[in-house]
Symmetry: C2
Subunit: 300 residues, 2 copies
């Protein structure tokens, strides 16, 4: 089998149930019953009353699993009864698709459109498209789409500017509404400095973050690591294909020099797509004509 | 399935038949019939009268496939009739095991010992251990083990210093003898210079190659790329775990500076283990506590 040609999409839906284990189990069972889908994680949070489910596979099985789970959640969760700390507008609150391997962002946007339409038609749930799948800038950011939460949107959905992208301009009586979209893989990346002066980390964070004139896909702040007595630039790389790791690392290095400070190390927290590290190796080794298929393991 | 825990060994046996396709097919069939083994390549060479077969899988199935193919070759190839340009001592001339994933060199040496013993016992073929599996320095290098080739070894095998590591001190009447061992994955790596003076590439090659006082696992020479009119340091990295890519790249960079020359790029020719590129990313990004399981694709 040519695994190198295999397409892999990640899907990380959030459901508004973090307490009743039997409900969580029923929703997850809808995912695992789909052939070709691999469940990577189930993280319930009781105070949020919410569960984050992570799975991967080829685009169509992943979409099928997302639809099944959404349908089951609409049967078992009643938003009229739901209480929790986390903002939400529906039983299936949000479904993002994330390109992992041999899949473009455009394909994930297409997948979001197909799923949104299917949820609206078959389940009669209004669907909003967000992030890369958003049809207007006003719906790009999730907090904007979720404004007013379930209780507020119930009334505001009839206003033209809050009409859903698919389905009726009327909340589903128990399942509410759902947000579907596509986004890049987020890499949590921290860079440690040879100083205990957190103000330097804050200045460097400002130099690289988008809102202060820095890189488009960088969110950053300066923090203190008390146990090591060093300052750290703590970063969310929201699109490593647009702003790569090496560019942020090198920029932090030369911004730190301004203060006579060195970078003593960096850390990737949690997971990273392989491509982000291959891109770093390719940059630093100045590789010419490098093809990912030259990685031995990509051929087996 | 926890693919991250899967062990993968590569095996690249060379058989002394590069002309009779039906013989090659029969040998290869012994490999592909073993469940869990993936055939990656079959490269016959008519003038060498030799075929190189590449396959991968878990250690035990890979060893089984190597044994089967060796047994078939001993039936179908008669060294008394064999002629070819490439040095060889047997029908199955050499069988190296190469660690690819979650496998240590020690495990590959163990595998070579097991296979060597099995070939000697069941097929009555004398077996020599080479490279990492060699029991004496004199048998580390393949050319030393193969000295005199089939025709010469037939007489010399009775001398104590040429006794095999397993099996009789007597050539198999048709299959000759076989060399089994373990070695690292070889990475063909070239570094291109901003000069058309090949003598600078040659001087830099001398600075990094083992025989001239350079890095232990580096073979290098300076060559001219006529089509681009630039000089190149052409390198074989024979153990990237001992001498990593970044160290050679950085050394070539600072040795080139001595001549006012820059490194304009580097190239990996053919395949590289993923780990070699992860090691480069880890070095340049100064990653702390990096674990390969943080690569998303290692979990699916």
């Amino acid at each position: 089998m040519d695994i190198a040609a295999e397409k892999i999409v990640e899907c990380v839906p959030n459901f508004s149930e973090g307490r009743r284990q039997e409900v969580i189990d029923s929703i997850v069972a809808e995912v695992t019953k789909v052939a070709g889908v691999t469940l990577l994680g189930v993280k319930p949070d009781a105070s949020h009353n919410r569960v984050v489910v992570t799975f991967v596979g080829e685009p169509q099985p992943v979409k099928q699993a997302a639809f099944n789970a959404c349908a089951k959640a609409s049967e078992l969760i009643d938003m009229e009864q739901h209480k929790g700390e986390h903002p939400r507008i529906g039983a299936t609150d949000v479904i993002p698709f994330i390109p992992v391997k041999n899949v473009t962002m455009e394909e994930c946007v297409q997948l979001a459109n197909e799923l949104g339409e299917e949820i609206a038609q078959k389940l009669n749930i209004p669907v909003y498209l967000y992030e890369e799948a958003a049809k207007t800038p006003a719906r790009k950011r999730l907090p904007d789409v979720r404004k007013g939460e379930y209780e507020g949107l119930k009334h505001e959905i009839t206003k033209p500017e809050r009409h859903p992208d698919f389905g009726p301009a009327k909340m589903h009586p128990t399942a509410g509404a759902t947000v579907v979209g596509a986004r890049q893989f987020l890499i949590a990346y921290n860079i440690n400095l040879s100083t205990s002066d957190v103000s330097i980390a804050k200045k460097i964070a400002n130099a690289i973050r988008e809102v202060k004139g820095g890189y488009k896909y960088v969110r950053a702040m300066g923090v203190m690591l008390e146990d090591r007595n060093i300052a750290q630039v703590s970063i969310n790389m929201v699109d490593y294909t647009g702003t790569p790791l090496h560019r942020v690392f090198e920029t932090v290095k030369f911004e730190a020099e301004r203060y006579g400070v060195n970078v003593i190390g960096s850390e990737i927290i949690g997971l990273t797509p392989l491509q982000a590290l291959l891109d770093a190796a390719e940059y630093y080794l100045r590789l010419e004509n490098f093809d990912r298929k030259q990685v031995f393991e990509e051929n087996i």
